[in-house]
């Protein structure tokens, strides 16, 4: 059985007509890192706060380690859930030292063991020398590690993290991600985190739930989401995609750029997703509709080219050899099968 099971959560903030969380369900296995990915306002942080017990779901349930902590008339207070939470802005206690912050959650241990345990955790997070400092004397990256150490110290069943890298400098994020990955692996820690940054989710999570308007659109491993996006939103949000309408003809679809082979049989009006890096430009030939190069932006190792067709524009990522200039007529050829999406 999954370590964390979330079923049919629903939350509407007072004074809002649209629910923030609308029937969210997913489960997380022991030792897994799960990401809730979505644009701002998609309900991912609210979902996390329901799991932590900071908000109450109107229906549905949350079960952790085979115990119902919310739902069926049960509501376990946040302090009794055994869930660690890392806040976006870290929420370190400003009046306590690093050491005291980490010891804060160890109040159930005998007094003499608390300091030893906190010190051990700080040492492992390479924060031992900062034990006596106050949070404001630390850098952003250090504060984040303290926040994580504090949340992990009481050995919670699961760690929840709200945009854990959001308040770090972009060049610090990669390093922080790598370190935290290592810590989670060493402790077989189960974690759920929230992010709006797809590269962060793809690079950090074992599985991802893509959220939009309070609902989960698709759950899968990073590769599944990339290869088989179920909806046009998932296709566009993860990796970016050209969304094209067309007429299904069995194993291929007729579109504005011509005939595109697809991943499964399709008939009638369908929509397909084509990734820019799966497309190639070619010189015009008979029988295939040609487009016109609208713009050409050179990035070094690759190029972004926009091609105009009747009624639509297509983005293509080609490599540095691309000979086509703005205004020239070109064909767009798919190198991979298109994905039929909802």
């Amino acid at each position: 059985m999954s370590l964390l099971r979330v079923e049919n959560l629903f939350l509407r903030y007072r004074g809002q007509t649209r629910p923030a969380v609308d029937g969210v369900s997913f489960s997380v296995e022991r030792g897994e890192t799960f990401a809730l990915l979505g644009p701002s306002g998609s309900g991912k942080t609210s979902t996390l706060r329901i799991i932590a017990g900071f908000e109450r779901s109107e229906r549905g349930s949350v079960a952790l380690a085979e115990r119902t902590i919310e739902g069926d008339g049960v509501f376990v207070a946040p302090e009794h859930r055994n869930i660690g939470f890392v806040f976006q802005e870290f929420a370190l206690f400003p009046h306590l030292t690093v050491m005291e912050n980490v010891m804060f959650g160890l109040h159930r241990l005998p007094r003499d063991e608390r300091a030893a345990r906190a010190m051990e955790i700080l040492d492992r997070a390479q924060l031992g020398e900062y034990a006596g400092r106050y949070p404001r004397q630390l850098s952003g990256g250090q504060q984040q590690r303290v926040a994580l150490a504090r949340a992990m110290a009481p050995r919670p069943h699961v760690i929840l993290m709200d945009e854990p890298f959001g308040s770090l400098d972009p060049d610090l994020r990669e390093d922080a991600r790598r370190k935290i990955r290592g810590v989670f692996r060493d402790h077989e820690m189960t974690a759920v985190f929230v992010t709006h940054d797809q590269t962060e989710a793809l690079g950090f999570a074992d599985r991802i739930g893509v959220m939009r308007d309070g609902r989960i659109e698709q759950v899968g491993t990073p590769e599944e989401l990339y290869r088989q996006p179920r909806t046009r939103f998932v296709a566009a949000f993860i990796g970016g995609a050209n969304i094209l309408p067309g007429q299904g003809q069995g194993d291929c679809v007729m579109t504005a750029i011509g005939r595109v082979p697809v991943d499964r049989d399709a008939t009638g009006d369908v929509t397909i997703a084509l990734r820019p890096e799966h497309l190639q430009l070619d010189t015009p030939s008979d029988g295939v509709p040609a487009g016109k190069v609208l713009s050409r932006v050179f990035h070094g190792h690759d190029l972004t080219i926009r091609v105009a067709f009747t009624d639509t524009e297509i983005t293509v990522w080609d490599d540095y050899r691309c000979p086509f200039r703005v205004g020239e007529a070109v064909l767009v050829r798919p190198r991979e099968k298109g994905v039929v999406v909802e």
Binding site: Y13, R14, G15, A20, T45, S46, R49, A52, G53, F54, E55, A77, P78, E79, H80, R81, N82, I83, G84, F85, F87, E89, A91, L92, F93, P94, H95, F104, G105, H107, R108, R150, A151, P154
Partner: protein, 520 residues
């Protein structure tokens, strides 16, 4: 993501008490004012004397603001933007007069030129008598220009110098850049300080009554003392309230319109100090004149009189009034701080129209001129609970309601740090709601609570009009005794009280500045 639920009852009750403590007295005042036949009402409202009082009050307020600005603006600029030597000492000298409440400054000015006073001891005859309009304005400026100075100084210090640089690069001379770019940036800070000065001048009773300059406050007090007919007194209070409210509203409008924000990113560029060169000499002369008039003269006057016969003859009375001051100021400070916590909490965590009104009512209590508030309380109390009239409890309550707004600021600042996230962090680490408040919220709020209590205590010790009207008959405080001796021109007898008030103020103000300085 804000949760907007109804405030829990234990937060709402103190807040409601405060709302009632301010709004009911004002309401009663209005009822009392209309409690006469129409002909009498017309006669009361349309008296030419009202216009005279209005003109006097406004002239005094404008003069105090104008003179305070003329003193504070150069001082603020000199201490922040120039290479003047001794800027720290100059800053200190400019803040020091804050320890001299208006009526103490009034006492000092009256005392300097009085018969057998310090001037007389040097020149043989008593000097020019500073009283009436000039005396009142001078005494009020001494206390108020430091308020303007502090606001302007902060504004100068946090000014974005790249704006002035931009103005220069667009072809403006330094002088024109100062006028067209620097001065407008001071707007918000200046307007806030003007608001404080206005409230002080409108609320002042001690200075105008000692100097015998007829403003609304003075007339209100005389009316209250002299006749049993409270209707005209109520009208005077309402008129004073109306002017205050109008000006506060205008101020808020102006402040909202001039709210300036910095555009662009990056650290604030530190401006280069202006070299004074030959201008240093006139600058020092200016500083010397201000310091002599606002610090040296009052202190000299007070110290001189403490050395005269009769100053220290009644030590028992001095001790009694000191204990009296403490016995009302300490409970009021604690009560105000205690009430400020739920009020600040409500307005930060439970934003709603109701909580907004409750918080505003605390500010209305502060802005309401003390005499008007006191009169309102008396009308209410005599009508509903006469047994509380002329008790210490009533005085403490009135102090609390009047000064509560001062306590809200520091508590709010603390709550700015103790965010809901911080409390949730504690919950997720296994602490319940009460344990979280005790171990996280309270320790973070503590410095703010202490600052709030000191601030209110200081204001209560210096308070005069509420005390005069509401204190029990034989009750003594430092401020009361000092005022009654001065009113009878017993300068030597008043001197120890003046000295005690100034020393206490200086001590507490320096503690506050020290604490606030540490936070910044």
């Amino acid at each position: 993501m804000k949760r907007s639920v109804l405030p829990p009852w234990y937060l709402a009750i103190p807040a409601l008490v405060v709302g009632l403590g301010v709004l009911v007295p004002i309401g009663y005042l209005a009822v009392r004012a209309f409690d006469a036949d129409p002909a009498t009402l017309r006669a009361l409202v349309l008296r030419p004397r009202n216009l005279e009082l209005f003109v006097n009050t406004m002239t005094l307020a404008t003069t105090v603001i104008a003179v305070s600005t003329l003193i504070a603006l150069p001082l603020a600029w000199l201490t922040t933007s120039t290479d003047l030597r001794g800027r720290f000492v100059v800053t200190l000298l400019s803040i020091l007069p804050l320890s001299i409440p208006g009526y103490v400054a009034g006492y000092a000015l009256l005392g300097v030129g009085a018969p057998h006073g310090p001037l007389a001891s040097i020149f043989g005859t008593s000097g020019p008598k500073l009283s009436g309009f000039v005396g009142a304005a001078a005494a009020l400026v001494i206390y108020n220009f430091p308020l303007v100075f502090l606001h302007l100084r902060t504004a100068f210090a946090s000014m974005d110098s790249s704006l002035t640089d931009a103005a220069r690069s667009l072809g403006l001379t330094p002088g024109r850049a100062f006028l067209r770019v620097t001065l407008p940036q001071l707007g918000p800070a200046y307007l806030s300080s003007v608001l404080l000065v206005l409230l002080y001048v409108f609320g002042d009773f001690g200075v105008v009554s000692l100097m015998r300059f007829e403003t609304f406050s003075y007339a209100l007090y005389m009316q209250y003392i002299a006749s049993l007919d409270r209707t005209y007194a109520a009208w005077l209070a309402l008129m004073l309230l109306a002017i205050t409210t109008t000006l506060v509203v205008v101020e808020f409008r102006l402040l909202r319109d001039v709210a300036l924000e910095r555009t662009g990113l990056g650290a604030l560029p530190k401006s280069r100090p202006r070299r004074l060169g030959a201008w240093a000499a006139p600058a020092y002369l200016f500083i010397a004149v201000v310091a002599l008039a606002s610090v040296a003269l009052p202190i000299w006057s007070i110290l001189y009189w403490t050395g005269q016969r009769g100053a220290w003859t009644n030590m028992g009375e001095l001790a009694r009034s000191f204990v009296g001051s403490l016995s009302v100021s300490v409970p009021a400070a604690l009560l105000a701080t205690l009430l400020a916590v739920p009020l600040a909490y409500l307005t930060r965590r439970h934003k709603s129209a109701l909580t907004h009104v409750l918080e505003r009512s605390a500010y209305i209590g502060y802005a309401t001129p003390a005499l008007a508030l006191a009169l309102g309380w008396i009308v209410v109390v005599l009508h509903t609970a006469p047994w509380i009239y002329q008790t210490v409890a009533l005085l403490i309550l009135a102090y609390t309601v009047h000064f509560l707004a001062q306590a809200i600021g520091p508590v709010r600042a603390g709550l700015h740090v103790a965010t809901p996230r911080i409390e949730e962090a504690s919950r997720s680490l296994g602490l319940g709601a009460i344990a979280t408040f005790r171990r996280v919220t309270l320790p973070i709020l503590r410095p703010g609570l202490v600052a709030a209590a000191i601030l209110v205590f200081l204001s209560c010790v210096k308070e005069l009009p509420l005390t005069i009207i509401l204190a029990p008959l034989d009750f003594e405080t430092l401020a009361l005794n000092m005022y009654s001796f001065t009113a009878e021109a017993m300068f030597a007898q008043a001197a120890p009280y003046a000295l005690a008030i100034v020393l206490l103020s200086a001590l507490l103000t320096s503690i506050l500045f020290h604490r606030l300085g540490e936070d910044a």
